[in-house]
């Protein structure tokens, strides 16, 4: 299968045989298991691996059990956010055929942030649980607005959508700064949220985001075959009985739902949505069904490992996961720049 995205990815994107795929799948599952284990093992209170194993198998003394179990919600939220961000990035890059597409670039993070700031400042929302809900409508509105601006003149292309996202982000950023700088209390809430962190959140955050994330994920997985057809070009897809406009619309909507869920739960986190799809494409090739599946496995692994790094480097303090992903993801992007051709 030679498609536009496969050609862009070069030799790394060949189709693998079933054996190679199984191997890749096992590798990803192992990585996820390691990440999950590390996430419940490391923290400001050191715990030995054997103790953690005891707790996980139902034993262990009650103090260690409390420590380890306190890391469960954080880990669960990390898995959820990782799945959401990675799958959203894969969808966006597939739908817009833009290798740079990610939730942050399409104005979704800015929309969620602006909405949270507005709710805190003008509607008196306080605390994590209340403000969290406001991320979703803001993200959706911003997604729609970017789409409307980007399709001015009737048709659109990926570059226009990214430009529209940049414009909307700038205007919303001005609003956010104006409000936060003139209201110290709002500023305090905002500066803790905007860094992007997994810690300090309970199970209720996980459960309240889950329905939205699940809906987005289901739509994303259903779209796999259609995205494969669309990769051959809109004309071919139409001749196969697929409506490109509808697939794009559904894809962007699902991506918005997913990234809004992640942003609501953990704040804006950069680079997971950008990097994971690239890694996955190099691993499994151009088939979107496989890409979506593997993104859902690799995304949480990367996010959890980044979070573990953040917990370890400054112990007993923590580096927020958003800072870690930026400081790991950006150099990776810089290394990739050198291999860009035709620019």
């Amino acid at each position: 299968m030679t498609t536009a995205s496969a050609a862009r990815q070069g030799p790394g994107a060949q189709r693998r045989g079933p054996a190679g795929l199984s191997l890749a799948l096992i590798g990803c599952l192992l990585l996820l298991a390691v990440a999950l284990f590390a996430s419940v093992m490391y923290g400001s209170k050191p715990t030995a691996a054997s103790d953690v194993l005891d707790v996980l198998t139902g034993g262990g003394d009650s103090y260690v059990r409390t420590v380890v179990e306190s890391r469960y919600p954080r880990t669960a939220i990390g898995v959820l956010a990782g799945v959401c961000l990675a799958v959203a990035g894969t969808l966006m890059q597939g739908v817009t055929r833009n290798p740079l597409a990610e939730p942050g670039l399409l104005g979704i993070n800015a929309g969620a942030s602006a909405s949270i700031v507005a709710a805190t400042a003008y509607l008196g929302a306080t605390g994590q649980r209340e403000t969290m809900w406001w991320a979703l409508p803001g993200a959706l509105l911003a997604g729609v607005a970017v789409h409307v601006i980007g399709t001015a003149g009737g048709r659109t292309n990926p570059v226009r959508l990214v430009l529209a996202g940049a414009v909307l982000s700038a205007v919303l950023a001005a609003f956010i700064q104006a409000v936060t700088l003139s209201r110290p209390k709002v500023f305090d809430t905002y500066r803790y949220w905007v860094v992007g962190a997994l810690g300090g959140r309970g199970w209720e955050v996980f459960w309240s985001v889950l329905p939205f994330a699940g809906t987005g994920l289901a739509v994303a997985l259903l779209l796999g075959p259609s995205l494969n057809a669309m990769a051959m070009g809109d004309d071919k897809a139409t001749s196969l009985g697929i409506s490109p406009a509808r697939v794009k619309g559904a894809g962007l909507l699902a991506a918005t739902l997913l990234s809004a869920s992640a942003t609501a739960a953990v704040g804006p986190i950069a680079f997971v949505g950008l990097a994971v799809p690239h890694l996955v494409r190099a691993l499994v090739g151009a088939d979107f069904r496989l890409q979506l599946l593997f993104s859902a496995l690799a995304g949480p692994s990367l996010l959890l490992l980044a979070d573990v790094i953040g917990r370890v480097v400054l112990r007993p303090q923590e580096l927020m996961v958003g800072v870690v992903t930026a400081c790991v993801g950006a150099p990776a992007l810089l290394l990739a720049v050198r291999r860009m051709r035709g620019a």
Partner: protein, 355 residues
């Protein structure tokens, strides 16, 4: 002064040539001169308004004596300590941003091109924030901003592998560097206590509040040092906009011109952010407005410089006098208005040329 006809008779801007004696002949666009003069007049009006408006304003009639240093009492205080240095910094910083953007957009052929886009502003913010966290009261924020901006540009230069020559790589590398820098800034804003975080957050938006004559001296020296160099580049850049092949055929060296223009653009922006912080969108919009007003090709360096000064002085006037919010940094106004203007430009263009 005589007017010469362009070689081909396409409908373009009228050109003129200013002849001094028989040896010196300076070609110019008539429309560019008209727009430039109009901008200069408006800049004068905005500057006068900055000095006269508001509770502490200086009477319009007193301005000449204040400028000559003959005033005493309240007027002298307002001019020497409050609004004089702020206005001087605004003019030179705006001009530096405008020229910087014009140089950069001419090289990258990208309407979104400006040093901000490749991470200079974000780097400056991160530099200022890092200094505030680790060396407070030792190194001033402006030095931190300058170092951060230069470090960010060095990173971009190294990571493209082709220096500043390939625009596509510049933009992608800039996204990466900006993301890293923003994360650093956000971490510092998170880690320090609230008052400090608040003033830091204001600084990283770009602010002209409480500038001194020292700041004004710095940015004016940078600006006046870079202007002649930019004038030397104007002609090679105009040729360069015809494409690499054609300009090589005309005897220019496009690679060297591009590198020189980007370096000069970075120097101007770095100087500007070190005194005023990363003020958004001036370097992006000033060249765009210049192109539209003069309706001509070529980099329009002079008009962009003047327009940059006008935009920043006007924005700072709004920041000082609009009753919406108290004392917001000027960068927030430029971000809101510049963002909206950019959106308008893009939508208008897209309506004309469907994808």
């Amino acid at each position: 002064m005589t007017t010469t006809q362009p070689l081909t008779r396409r409908s373009g801007p009228r050109r003129g040539t200013l002849r001094i004696g028989t040896r010196v002949a300076v070609p110019f666009h008539v429309s560019a001169v008209v727009v430039g003069l109009a901008t200069l007049v408006l800049l004068g009006v905005a500057a006068a308004a900055t000095l006269t408006m508001g509770r502490l304003g200086i009477e319009l009639a007193d301005i000449p004596s204040v400028l000559l240093g003959e005033a005493t009492g309240k007027d002298a205080f307002v001019f020497d300590r409050l609004r004089g240095p702020r206005l001087a910094v605004a003019i030179a910083t705006g001009a530096a941003f405008g020229l910087s953007g014009a140089l950069f957009q001419s090289v990258t052929r990208n309407p979104l091109g400006s040093p901000d886009v490749i991470g200079l502003g974000a780097g400056a913010g991160a530099g200022a924030a890092t200094v505030a966290l680790f060396l407070p009261d030792v190194v001033p924020a402006s030095v931190g901003a300058l170092l951060g901006a230069l470090l960010a540009m060095g990173l971009v230069y190294v990571s493209t592998g082709t220096g500043f020559r390939s625009p596509g790589r510049l933009v992608v590398a800039g996204i990466g560097v900006a993301a890293m820098a923003t994360a650093v800034t956000q971490y510092v804003v998170y880690a320090v206590e609230r008052d400090k975080a608040s003033s830091l957050a204001a600084y990283v938006n770009g602010s002209l509040a409480a500038r001194s004559w020292d700041d004004a001296t710095v940015i004016w020296i940078v600006l006046l040092g870079c202007l002649p160099l930019a004038a030397l580049l104007a002609r090679p850049l105009t040729i360069g906009e015809m494409g690499d092949d054609l300009s090589t055929g005309l005897g220019a060296n496009p690679g060297r011109t591009k590198t020189a223009a980007v370096l000069l653009s970075i120097a101007l922006s770095a100087g500007a952010v070190s005194v005023a912080g990363p003020i958004a969108f001036i370097s992006l919009t000033a060249p765009q407005i210049a192109k539209r007003l003069t309706r001509s090709t070529g980099p329009q360096l002079a008009v962009s410089t003047l327009l940059g000064a006008l935009l920043l002085v006007a924005a700072d006037l709004a920041a000082q006098q609009l009753p919406l919010f108290d004392d917001l940094p000027v960068g927030i106004y430029t971000m809101a208005v510049g963002g909206a203007y950019l959106g308008y430009l893009l939508v208008r263009e897209w309506r004309r040329q469907p994808a």
